[in-house]
């Protein structure tokens, strides 16, 4: 069955999380296309056009360091988490955990409220 999830909702949901996942993959030096493939395999399919601005922003903020490897047939740019990046990654992980817990809690409360509302209904009200 086709998913009913709005693609925009899915994209917005993943946009923040993919940054956190990318930072985890960048614990070891990786080049752009390598990271795209790893993220895709992990269920976070992302195009270069979306990933590169994120990498560039992290690089500007000092979260990532980069270096050009000129040993191979073609120069290749590797990205890696900096010390500042490790701290940022941990903070992001904490924020993600809090957001996830808050979402779970809110959904649980909504479910409880719906359940208690349905038990308050009289048998007559439940008649079709």
């Amino acid at each position: 069955m086709a998913s009913r999830v709005d693609p925009k909702f899915e994209a917005e949901l993943r946009r923040g999380v993919v940054q956190l996942v990318a930072l985890h993959f960048l614990e070891t030096p990786r080049y752009g296309y390598d990271l795209v493939r790893l993220l895709g395999a992990a269920g976070f399919a992302i195009e270069e056009g979306t990933l590169y601005p994120i990498l560039r922003r992290f690089e500007k903020q000092g979260v990532l360091t980069s270096r050009w490897d000129t040993e191979g047939t073609r120069p290749r740019k590797y990205y890696e988490l900096s010390e500042e990046g490790r701290l940022r990654k941990n903070d992001m992980l904490k924020a993600w955990g809090e957001a996830r817990d808050a979402t779970d809690e809110a959904l649980r409360q909504a479910k409880d409220a719906a359940r208690s509302a349905s038990t308050r209904e009289t048998p007559e009200e439940r008649q079709p």
Binding site: Y31, G32, Y33, E48, G49, T50, Y52, R74, P75, R76
Partner: protein, 321 residues
């Protein structure tokens, strides 16, 4: 195919055009690397792909150069549709008003510019001269509006234009008050204008308003009548209607024409002979009163033109809905 004509080079050239100068070299190298890596990966995954096709796929994965540049700059590099529409609508309104003013000045027989280099009568000579003048007006308005948009874009772009487009809800009480005010003004202009603007002359008082200026009084009555019609229509319709807005727009236009006619009179003030002021004092007073009238006329014309545009837009919206 030469390397210069490759889609990669085209894409990078487009990106370079859009990026801030200090980012170009670095981003170009990064993006080229991404394209080459992806193209290489695509080629390995599907050997039937030609290098050109693989490169095209790699470029497609980056998305349009404009969007990538916007993401990198963290700011819109293209002008949003809403801004473009606002600009075009404002330009149309400003240009129309500017042109109307110039036509009105030409019809009124004005020979000098009200605002040098900006507002003056249309030439009445050859067709070419008129056309050139209209083009000049358009270019002046476009440039002025661009300056306004740049200035407002740095401040609060979504707020400033509302000054021009804010709605003016009318109530029954407001309409009655408006009618009373118009009646008072009509009585004042038609019966007491010369008595109010008067100076002592022997034992009596004489008006210092020039005949040229006084000849405009019938025109102001047309303006009053149109605004009164607006209020009456508002009262009858228990609120604004297309007709009441139309009457207001017409009144505003007629009012601005009156103001322009006032500003372009050859003589506004003429001190009566035999006044008790000295020659020098009379000249100073003459100039002072002329300046005050001129300011009132120019500011009044601008405010009424803004009102004309606002009511015209409100009327157009009503017709559309």
């Amino acid at each position: 195919m030469s390397d210069q004509a490759s889609p990669r080079e085209d894409y990078l050239a487009r990106l370079e055009d859009l990026l801030p100068a200090h980012e170009i070299a670095r981003v170009r190298a990064d993006v080229e690397d991404l394209i080459l890596e992806r193209a290489s990966g695509e080629g390995e995954r599907d050997p039937s792909l030609s290098p050109l096709e693989a490169e095209r796929n790699a470029i497609a994965a980056l998305g349009p150069a404009e969007r990538l540049a916007e993401e990198l700059a963290s700011a819109p590099l293209t002008i949003p549709l809403a801004t473009r529409r606002t600009f075009v609508r404002l330009l149309a309104a400003v240009f129309a008003c500017h042109l109307l003013l110039s036509i009105a000045m030409a019809v009124a027989g004005s020979t000098s510019a009200a605002i040098p280099g900006v507002l003056g009568p249309l030439p009445q000579g050859s067709f070419g001269a008129i056309l050139l003048s209209v083009i000049t007006i358009f270019l002046i308005d476009t440039g002025a509006l661009l300056v306004v948009f740049v200035a407002m874009g740095k401040a609060r772009p979504e707020q400033a234009p509302r000054i021009l487009f804010r709605s003016s809800p009318w109530t029954r009480r407001g309409a009655i008050e408006g009618l009373v005010l118009l009646a008072l003004l009509a009585v004042l202009f038609n019966g007491y204008l010369e008595q109010i603007f008067a100076i002592q002359h022997g034992d009596s008082w004489s008006s210092f308003l020039a005949q040229d200026f006084l000849s405009l009084v019938p025109y102001i009555n047309v303006v009053f009548a149109l605004f009164a019609l607006r209020h009456i229509l508002t009262l009858l319709g228990k609120g604004d209607s297309t007709w009441s807005l139309g009457a207001d727009a017409a009144g505003s236009l007629a009012g601005s024409a009156f103001m322009i006619m006032g500003a372009t009179r050859r003589e506004l003030v003429q001190m009566p002979s035999g006044h008790k002021l000295g020659q020098e004092a009379a000249e100073v007073l003459d100039n002072l009163i002329e300046s005050v009238f001129l300011i009132v006329f120019v500011v009044g014309a601008l405010l009424l033109i803004m009102r004309f545009v606002r009511q015209g837009i409100a009327m157009a919206r009503r017709i559309r809905s």
